[in-house]
């Protein structure tokens, strides 16, 4: 093939081919420079057959070839090609993307070597290279191209995957960040919640220790202060028995206020209700801020109405949070409240029981089966010593009661008081022994006293009756004795000795009769006699003449009351008493002139009559025994011992009392007093 002409032909062919889009043949470039040997021509023909070649004339043009338009560049070089320096220049500039296949005439080792080093061509074929070798090279290059494409593709894929991974990574990171953020937020929220729950728990814990209702309020108040700094708490309670009351804080301490009016009731929460504000302002006599009312449900009794009022200074937005805050606490509050109110009730009930128990006048004691005192009331403390000293008490009474499980009674005496001790067993289920006993000491002192008084009265009555009978029985023979003595005295008047003796006998008989007469009047005193309204002054006046002889010797001082002293009495018998007392006084003073003072006065609502003498007095030991019948200090003078006894009976039967004050050697004052009747002042 000729140079330029054939090259031209090829170029045209190339352009034609590319126009007609012949796909089968790949595009390549060829530069033929220098000689072409016959073997080389074979190769060239083969190449022309394989590729759509574009011919290049000058080596400089090699620089313009774009790898996309020519995959391969065949460079056929004659024997003297290396004399051209352009190859060096070109080798420095050329792109490695193109595949150069050199077709050389000879392998001049030095120049070839430097060319290969600089360019790194795909292949260098010599004069003896066959078409087969070329095909092998082309196939290898194609394969490697394919491989490189593949690897590039793979690389691309990898790069793409990498990019995707990166994106994924980024997404994941973003996700993680978000999640972390979420977790952070949740953590914060949880921490907050935990904090709130901790607060609530400590609140409930402190409530659990509350026993008194005052402590409850203190805790509520502290809780509110902790959370909100300001705010006053009021616990309004209506427990029914004692009326409505409000517990509040005053100068650092809890105080209760009893109120007349009830607050507004209702089960619903009330926020800033005017009426509540008004109510509290009225109750505490001071202006009140806004008030939130929390009704606290008390499960104990439905009739209980408890409301917690909180005076606050919160804005409307804060109020909601506050209500939530309190809302969490309301249930525990209600529970604690129930407990405290129960406590209050218990205390009150216990107090009531104790007061009731102690208010019982009769001593009551409860013993367990070991004879230990479990409980007793106040009245029992007065006799406890006597009870403890009495050894037989526990054995006789308590033991029997416990063993036999029946009520046992016995009498018991403590100093001046008489009791009937009733021991009743306390039985639970069907125990064989009583677990404890209640001993009730019934005070029968009055009864016993009354009994003995009645017996005494009966005796006295009987004695009186007897006395009456005996008196009459004795009167007859005594009359006889006296009368006979008198007759004998008259008949034997000249026999002095006999007459004297007879006179003694008569005196004795006479004295006997006097005793009997006194006995008679004693037995007849005051029963069924008529009571009349008389002036005591007058009565004394009437009696004095009868005492003229007895009183004449002594210095007499009579003090009448300036006004009328009206009493309801049996006049005769009263006179007898007056007579008796004055007579006794005079007889006590004996022969020696003494001082006699008779006085009538009014004391409280009683008329008092007194006789004072300056005689030897009466020993205190005699005491009230002096009023016993047949007790007399006048045996020598002829006292019968019945005068005072009779006087006591008479006075007592008229509702009065008789008595005396005296000390040995200092005279005596005998007195009686009678209830006033009517308008005496």
């Amino acid at each position: 093939m000729d140079g330029p002409a054939s090259s031209l032909k090829l170029i045209v062919k190339f352009y034609d081919d590319t126009k007609s889009l012949k796909v089968n043949k790949e595009a390549a470039a060829i530069l033929i420079n220098g000689d072409v040997s016959p073997s080389k021509k074979k190769l060239l023909d083969h190449i022309y057959g394989l590729f759509e070649l574009s011919e290049i004339k000058e080596p400089q043009q090699l620089l313009n070839i774009h790898p996309l338009t020519s995959k391969y560049v065949f460079v056929s070089l004659g024997a003297n090609f290396l004399k051209n320096n352009i190859w060096e220049e070109w080798s420095k500039k050329s792109s490695r993307a193109m595949r150069y296949i050199f077709l050389l005439e000879s392998f001049d080792s030095k120049e070839v070597a430097s060319l290969i080093n600089n360019l790194e061509p795909l292949a260098v074929l010599g004069p003896n290279s066959t078409v087969q070798e070329l095909n092998e090279i082309l196939n290898m290059s194609r394969e490697s191209a394919r491989d490189s494409v593949k690897s590039r593709e793979t690389l691309e894929k990898v790069k793409q995957q990498n990019r995707q991974l990166e994106i994924l990574n980024q997404n994941l990171e973003a996700l993680v960040r978000d999640r972390t953020r979420d977790i952070e937020v949740s953590k914060n929220q949880i921490e907050l919640k935990v904090k709130k729950v901790r607060q609530l728990v400590s609140f409930v814990k402190s409530l659990s220790t509350v026993r008194k209702i005052e402590d409850l309020l203190t805790i509520i108040r502290n809780e509110i202060k902790k959370a909100y700094g300001k705010g006053e708490a009021f616990l309004a309670c209506d427990t029914g028995e004692y009326g409505p009351w409000i517990l509040h804080f005053q100068r650092g301490e809890t105080a209760t206020v009893q109120t007349k009016n009830r607050w507004n009731t209702g089960v619903k929460l009330r926020i800033n209700d005017r009426k509540d504000q008004q109510y509290l302002a009225n109750t505490f006599s001071r202006p009140f801020g806004r008030v939130v009312a929390f009704p606290l449900q008390s499960k104990a009794t439905d009739s209980r109405d408890v409301v917690l009022f909180v005076e606050h200074q919160l804005s409307l937005e804060q109020v909601d949070a506050f209500i939530d805050y309190m809302g969490e606490r309301l249930q525990s509050l209600s529970l604690a409240l129930d407990r405290s109110l129960l406590e209050v009730d218990l205390k009150r009930a216990s107090f009531l029981w104790e007061s009731t128990f102690d208010s019982i006048d009769d001593p009551i004691a409860i013993y367990n089966k070991d004879h230990e005192l479990i409980r007793s009331n106040k009245a029992f403390s007065e006799i406890i010593e006597t009870v403890q000293k009495d050894k037989s008490f526990s054995s006789e009474l308590i033991d029997t009661c416990i063993e036999k499980r029946v009520s046992v009674s016995r009498s018991f005496r403590a100093e001046q008081r008489f009791f009937d001790a009733h021991c009743d067993p306390i039985l639970f289920h069907d125990d064989d022994r009583a677990s404890s006993v209640v001993v009730h000491f019934v005070d029968v002192t009055n009864y016993k006293n009354l009994q003995s008084t009645m017996i005494q009265n009966e005796k006295m009555s009987a004695v009186g009756h007897l006395a009456g009978n005996i008196a009459h029985e004795l009167n007859n023979p005594l009359t006889g004795i006296r009368s006979l003595c008198q007759v004998l005295i008259a008949e034997h008047s000249r026999r002095e000795q006999v007459v004297n003796d007879l006179k003694e006998v008569e005196k004795a008989a006479s004295r006997s009769q006097k005793i009997i007469n006194n006995l008679l009047s004693f037995s007849q005193s005051a029963t069924g006699s008529e009571l009349k309204r008389v002036d005591l002054n007058q009565l004394l006046q009437m009696t004095l003449p009868l005492l003229k002889s007895v009183t004449s010797e002594h210095r007499r001082h009579f003090k009448f009351h300036e006004k009328e002293v009206l009493v309801k009495v049996e006049p005769h018998l009263t006179q007898q008493v007056i007579f008796n007392l004055i007579n006794n006084a005079c007889q006590a003073m004996g022969q020696e002139p003494g001082d006699l003072e008779v006085k009538i006065c009014v004391q409280d609502n009683f008329a008092k009559f007194s006789v004072r003498d300056s005689g030897p007095g009466v020993s205190e030991e005699l005491g009230s025994g002096i009023f016993e019948p047949f007790v007399t200090t006048k045996s020598k003078v002829g006292g019968t011992g019945l005068g005072l006894s009779m006087s006591q009976r008479v006075i007592r039967s008229m509702g009065g009392e008789i008595g005396f004050d005296s000390k040995l050697g200092k005279g005596a004052c005998f007195w009686f007093q009678l209830p006033l009747d009517g308008e005496t002042q």
Partner: protein, 119 residues
């Protein structure tokens, strides 16, 4: 003057009788209501001392039994002061009531005598 003394108490009867005899009167004695009533009926004394309480027949009973048959002065005596006084005695038919004990027996005789004499 004839006097009858009816009293179950011996000493009273004796001393009353002797006090009356000392005054020179005739005295008859009876120790019981029945005996007294018989003597009274038979002897018709001027004055009768009559005790109230006697074991067999009491004084008032005797008077009752002799209702209408007696013209004597009757002096009723008794230690039992309870239901008896002058009025009661009179209503029973007696002329005088003397409570026992006697302070002075001779005074009693005098009073009785005056009763009869003053007839």
């Amino acid at each position: 003057m004839k006097i009858l003394v009816i009293d179950d108490e011996e000493l009273v009867r004796k001393s009353l009788a002797r006090a009356c005899r000392a005054r020179g009167f005739q005295v008859l004695e009876a120790s019981g209501g029945a005996e007294g009533q018989e003597l009274w009926e038979n002897e018709s004394p001027d004055l009768v001392f009559l005790d109230v309480l006697m074991p067999d027949l009491n004084g008032p009973k005797v008077i009752e039994n002799l209702q209408g048959k007696i013209t004597s002065k009757i002096v009723l005596m008794s230690a039992y002061t309870g239901g008896y006084d002058l009025n009661k005695a009179k209503s029973l038919g007696a002329d005088l009531f003397i409570p026992k004990p006697f302070e002075n027996i001779f005074e009693i005789v005098q009073v009785a005598e005056a009763l009869v004499v003053g007839k």
